[in-house]
C-alpha cells in the first residue's frame, strides 16, 4: 500500500473558478493523489470590486448601496454593521428609535432565514441531489417577496441605514409574513425527507470534513461551523445587539463537527429564525418613528474614532472595523467576513486527505463566500 | 342735449378729449414739480390717443370700443378732491385724472337717457365703458405708484 502511494504521481487540478461546485467566483488549486487531495490553496480575486477603497471616497450615506453588495444572500447584515458602527462613532446610537430596532432585528432574521434556506439547498446540490436546491431557492423567493414589499428591492435591500430604517412596515405585513412562514414550515418535512433522510446525503456528509475542536478558538471559527462542534457560540447571545437580548431562543448546537452536523445546525436554525420572526412581529411596536432625525447627509461629518462591530450572519461572525477621521468620508472600513477564515486558512487545512468529490460539499458546509474574502 | 346721429355723438366725444388734452397741457406748463409735469405731458399724449381712437371709429376704421375690463377699485370715490396748485404732485395729478375720467363716464351715462334710438344708446354706453376703463387704469396706476405699501 505504502509503496503504491509513493510511486503514484501527484496531479495538479484547478477547481474553479468556473465550476458548478464552487461556492462563488473563486478557485482552489489542488494537488491530487488518486482521488484524494493532498494539498490545496485558495485563490480569490475574480470579483474584487474594491469596495473598501470605494467607500473611502464616498459620503457615509453613499456607502450603504455599496456594503449590501458584499453579500448576495444576506446583504442586510452588512448594512446593519455599517449603520451600527457609524451610529456608535457619531453618538447617534442613543437616538435610534425603538421601532427601528425591532424592524432591524426582523430584517436581520429574515435575511438569515433566506440565506440558510439557500445554503441548505446548496448542501444538497453539492451532492447532486437535484430537486432540493430548487425547492429551497423557491422558498427563499417567498422571503424575497416580503423583502420586496418591505424594502423596495428583492436582493439588494439598502434598507437599514444610519439612524434606523428607510421605511415603515407596510400595512398588513405581519399577516403576509406569517403566511410565508407557514408555507415554508409546511415544506420543511419534505426537505428533511429528501436531504437528511437521504442515504446519499447521510453517507457523504457524516464523518466528512470534520473540524477538530481544538482549532475552534485559535482560528476564530464561528457560526454554524463552531456550533456543529457542540460549542454554543453565537454573537446574538455573546454580545446581543438590537433586540436579540429580549428574544427567547437557545443557541443551536450539534455534535460531530462534520458536514452533516453543520447542515443540521442550519436546518434547525431555519426553524429558529421562523420562531424569532414570529416573536419579533408579535412584539413590534405599532406606533413611533422608524428612523432617528438625520443630519444633512450631504454634509455630515463624524468625529475621529475607530470601532469594531459584529453580528451573527448565517455564516458566522461578521465584523466591521471602521475608522473615521472627522471628515465627510470613511477613513477606513475593513470587512471581517467569517469566510476569510473558513474559506482560506480552515479550508486549506481541511483539504489534505479529503476526497475530491467531497470538496464541493465541504466548501458549502463551511459556507464560503468569496465576495466576503476579497470585498 | 340731444344728438341726432352717431356722428354727432362721436364729434362731441372728440371735442371732449381735445378739451381734456388742452387741460393737461396747461397743467404741464404750469406745474413746477418735475414728476407732475412729466405725468401731465404723458396724459396729453393719452388724450390724443383716445381722440385718434374715436376718429378711427367715426371713419369706420375701427368697429367699436374694446375695454380690457380692468377691475374697479372705487378709489376715486374715497379720495379727497385736490385743487390745482403750481406745486401739484404726481399723487394729486393722478387723483385729478381719475376724477376727470369718472366725470366723463358719468356724463355719458347721463346722456344715455336722452338717446333716441338703440344705436345711439349703444354708442354712448360704449363711450361710458371706455371712460370707466380709463378710470380703472388710473386707479391701478395710483395703487401701484402711491400705495406701494398699502
Amino acid at each position: 500500500m505504502t509503496e503504491t502511494r509513493e510511486r503514484s504521481k501527484e496531479v495538479q487540478i484547478w477547481f474553479g473558478p468556473q465550476h458548478p461546485g464552487i461556492t462563488g467566483n473563486m478557485s482552489v488549486q489542488t494537488w491530487l493523489d488518486g482521488d484524494t487531495l493532498t494539498r490545496g490553496i485558495t485563490h480569490v480575486g475574480y470579483l474584487h470590486r474594491a469596495f473598501e477603497k470605494l467607500m473611502e471616497r464616498r459620503l457615509y450615506i453613499q456607502s450603504f448601496p455599496i456594503v449590501c453588495r458584499i453579500c448576495v444572500p444576506e446583504p442586510d447584515t452588512n448594512e446593519w454593521l455599517l449603520a451600527s458602527a457609524l451610529e456608535e462613532l457619531s453618538g447617534l446610537d442613543r437616538e435610534v428609535p425603538e421601532k427601528a430596532r425591532w424592524i432591524r432585528t426582523l430584517v436581520l432574521e429574515m435575511s438569515r432565514l433566506g440565506a440558510m434556506l439557500m445554503v441548505l439547498g446548496g448542501h444538497a446540490g453539492s451532492m447532486g441531489l437535484g430537486p432540493a436546491p430548487q425547492w429551497m431557492i423557491a422558498l427563499r423567493d417567498l422571503v424575497l417577496d416580503r423583502f420586496e414589499e418591505l424594502t423596495g428591492g428583492r436582493v439588494y435591500h439598502m434598507y437599514i441605514v444610519y439612524g434606523g430604517v428607510r421605511r415603515d412596515l407596510p400595512e398588513g405585513f405581519a399577516e403576509r409574513m406569517e403566511q410565508t412562514l407557514k408555507t415554508i414550515e409546511s415544506k420543511l418535512p419534505l426537505i428533511d425527507d429528501v436531504i437528511f433522510g437521504s442515504a446519499v446525503f447521510r453517507k457523504r456528509a457524516m464523518g466528512v470534513g470534520v473540524v477538530p475542536r481544538e482549532w475552534a478558538f485559535e482560528m476564530g471559527i464561528s457560526g454554524p461551523v463552531i456550533r456543529a462542534m457542540g460549542i454554543p457560540k453565537d454573537v446574538r447571545k455573546d454580545e446581543p445587539y438590537e433586540k436579540y437580548a429580549e428574544l427567547d431562543f437557545d443557541v443551536v448546537t450539534e455534535e460531530g463537527s462534520d458536514i452533516f452536523a453543520r447542515a443540521m445546525v442550519r436546518r434547525r436554525e431555519i426553524q429558529q429564525s421562523i420562531d424569532l420572526i414570529r416573536q419579533i412581529l408579535a412584539r413590534m411596536p405599532k406606533e413611533g418613528p422608524y428612523c432617528a432625525e438625520l443630519p444633512n447627509m450631504l454634509e455630515w461629518t463624524i468625529p475621529v474614532g475607530q470601532t469594531y462591530v459584529r453580528a451573527e450572519s448565517s455564516r458566522g461572525e461578521m465584523g466591521y472595523y471602521v475608522v473615521t477621521d472627522g471628515s465627510k468620508k470613511l477613513r477606513r472600513v475593513h470587512v471581517r467576513g467569517p469566510s476569510y477564515v473558513h474559506g482560506v486558512s480552515l479550508l486549506e487545512r481541511l483539504i489534505p486527505g479529503t476526497n475530491i468529490a467531497d470538496l464541493a460539499p465541504l466548501m458549502v458546509s463551511l459556507q464560503v463566500c468569496p465576495p466576503e474574502i476579497e470585498r | 342735449m340731444e344728438f341726432n346721429s352717431i356722428q354727432e355723438v362721436l364729434d362731441f366725444a372728440v371735442r371732449q378729449e381735445q378739451k381734456a388734452g388742452r387741460f393737461y397741457g396747461l397743467m404741464a406748463e404750469k406745474s413746477t414739480d418735475v414728476v407732475a409735469r412729466k405725468f401731465f405731458r404723458e396724459m396729453v399724449g393719452e388724450e390724443r390717443k383716445h381722440e385718434a381712437k374715436l376718429k378711427a371709429i367715426k371713419s369706420g376704421k375701427l368697429s367699436g370700443f374694446s375695454g380690457q375690463g380692468t377691475p374697479q377699485m372705487n378709489l376715486t370715490e374715497v379720495l379727497g378732491e385736490p385743487v390745482f396748485r403750481e406745486d401739484i404732485t404726481l399723487q394729486e395729478g393722478l387723483i385729478i385724472a381719475m376724477r376727470a375720467e369718472k366725470d366723463a363716464y358719468e356724463m355719458y351715462e347721463g346722456l344715455k337717457a336722452f338717446a333716441r334710438d338703440e344705436e345711439l344708446k349703444k354708442i354712448l354706453e360704449g363711450l361710458a365703458a371706455e371712460e370707466l376703463e380709463h378710470k380703472a387704469r388710473m386707479e391701478s396706476i395710483y395703487d401701484q405708484v402711491v400705495q406701494r405699501e398699502n
Binding site: L59, L129, A138 | V34, L90, R148, E149
Partner: protein
Amino acid sequence: MSLKHVLQPFNAWVQAFSKPYTIPMKDTMRPGADRYRGWHINDVEKCVGCGTCADICQNAAIDMVPVKDPVKGDSGLRPKIDYGRCCWCALCVDVCTTGSLGMSNEYTWVEKDPEKCRYTPGVDAKPWDGSEKGWRQEEGFSLIVKDRVPMPMLDPKERIKTWAEVVVGYSVEEARKEAARCVSCGLCVAACPAHMHIPDYIGAIRDGDFEKALDFIYDNNPMPEMCGKVCTRRCEGVCSVGIQGEPLAIRWLKRFATEQFEDFAKVLHPEVKRVGEGKKVAVVGGGPSGVTVAYYLAVRGFEVTIYEALPQLGGATFFGIPKYRFPMPSLEKQVDLLKKAGVKIVTDHRVEKDEFRRLLEENDALFFGTGLMKPYKLGVPGEDLEGVIYALDLLRDHHVGKKVEVGESVVVVGGGNVAIDASRVSRRLGAEVTIAYRRRREDMPADDEEIEDAEAEGIELVTQSIPLRVEKLENGKLDFIWGPAEMVPPDRPGGRPKPKLIEGVENHLQVDRVIVAIGQKGEFEWMPEEVAEKVVTSRGWVEVDETGMTQWPGIFAGGDLVNSTADAISAIADGLKAVEGIQQFTLEGLSVSKS
C-alpha cells in the same frame, strides 16, 4: 443507515405531480411591490433642478442637463439618468428637496439601443410616467434637515419695554448646525439681487472658517451686517430646502459671520487693484447703493466722496430701520471699514442745484442714490388735521434723537416694513397700536417674520380696511373712519389682488395719532432742472441702462429711486452694477457730458 433513508428521497418524485412553485413565464409580468424601486419618474414642474440627486448618487449615474432657461427658483436643469450605472438605491428620491423625483414600480424594460437607457424622467416620455406606485419619499425619513435651528429672541413682553435688539443671534454651535443644513444648490444666488456667494459662505461657516465666510460675504456686499439683520432675503424664498421644510436661515447666518468680527478691516484682504488711480467720483446719498459704489470704487483706487444730508451714512437703513432690528454699532462698523478703505465722507450736507453742477464739473462720474425720502399722502379728507403724521418722519425724528410722542393709541395705515417699524416703535413708546391695511395679510409687503413679531408684541392687525376720512373729536382724539373692502382679482397674472371698497359701511377707531405709511417717493428739488428733466420719469423714478447710467452720460443712479423692489439688497445690486458702469465709463476716457 436504513432502508428509510434510501427510500425517502423518492418523495421528490411524488412532488412531480404537485403544483409547481415555478410560475409560467406568461404570468411573471406581475407588478412590482407598492414601493418597488423601479424606473424613475420626475414631476418636472415641481422639480427645481437643485441637483442634490446628482450629488448623492454614489454611482455618478445622474447628470443635470438643461431643459429650459434658468429662472429665479429653478435652475432649468433636470436629472438625466444613465441606467448603465444606476443601482436603484433610491437615495436620489430620498434626498430630493422637492419630492418631485420618485420611482415607479415598473421593473421591466426591453430596449435594443443602449443609448435609450439614458433618459430624463418627466421630459422623455415613458410608459410608467404618472405611475401611482413605486418608491416615494415618506414622512419620517429625510436625508436633509427640514427644521431650522430656532433663533433665540427676546420675550415679546420684555422687548416692548426696551430698545434692545430683539434677535439675539446664533451661537457658534447653532450657526454651524444651521449651516450644515445647506445642500449647496445655489438657487439662492440667482434670487439674491446682488448674487452673493451664499452657498460658499454658508459652507465656510459650517466648516468653522468664519474669516473665509466674511471674505465671501464682503466680496459683493459692503453692508452685510445690515443685510444679516434686516434683509428682505429673497434668497430664502427660493431655498430648495425650504420647499418641503424651512429654508436655510441665510440672513441669520450672514449676521452670525459678521458678528464674529469687531473690525472688518483686520480680516478682509481685498486684492488691491489701482485701476481707478487719478479718477474722481462723487456719490450723492449715503444709502446702501451709494455705500456700495463708494467702497468698491475705493478699493479699486478711485477717489470717492460721499455726500449725505443726514448725520450718518446708511440711508433708509439708518433713519428708517429701528435700532431693535439694526443697532447703531452694527452700522458704524461698516461705515468704519469704508473710511479705512479711503472713502471721504461728508455728512450733514445736502447737495443743492449749484453744488451738483459743480460736482459734475469736478468729477469723472457722479452717482446718486437719494432714495425715497418723502411719504405719499393718504389722500382722504382730514389728513391735514393735527395728529396725522407720517411714519417716515416719526422714524427719522426718533433715530436722530428728537423727542417723539405718539399718545396712548395709534393707527398705522399701511402694510409694508415701514408700517411695521412705525408700529413697533410706537409700541415701545407706550401706545396701543392698530395696523390698518387695505389688502389681506398674505398680501402685505412686510416681511412675514416682522408681522409675526409685531403681533407677538401686541399689535393688532385690521386687514381689508380702507381709510375714508379722519375727523377731530371733542375729546381731542382723532376719529379714524374706515370702510371694509372686498378683494377683486389683479389686472395681470401675478399682480396684487385689489381691495374694493364695500360702500355704505363705516367703522370708527378713536386714536391719538394716525400714522401714514402707504408709500414713499423720491424728491428732486435739489437737482438742477436740466438734469431732472432728463433723468426722471413720469412716475417719479429714475431710469438707468444696464450699466446703471442715466440718460445723462456720466451720471449714474441706483437704489430705491431706480429699482421696483425698494429694498437694501436691490440697492446694493444697483450699486454693484454702477461700480462696473463707472469703471468702464471713466476708464474709457469719457467724462461727464457738460451739455
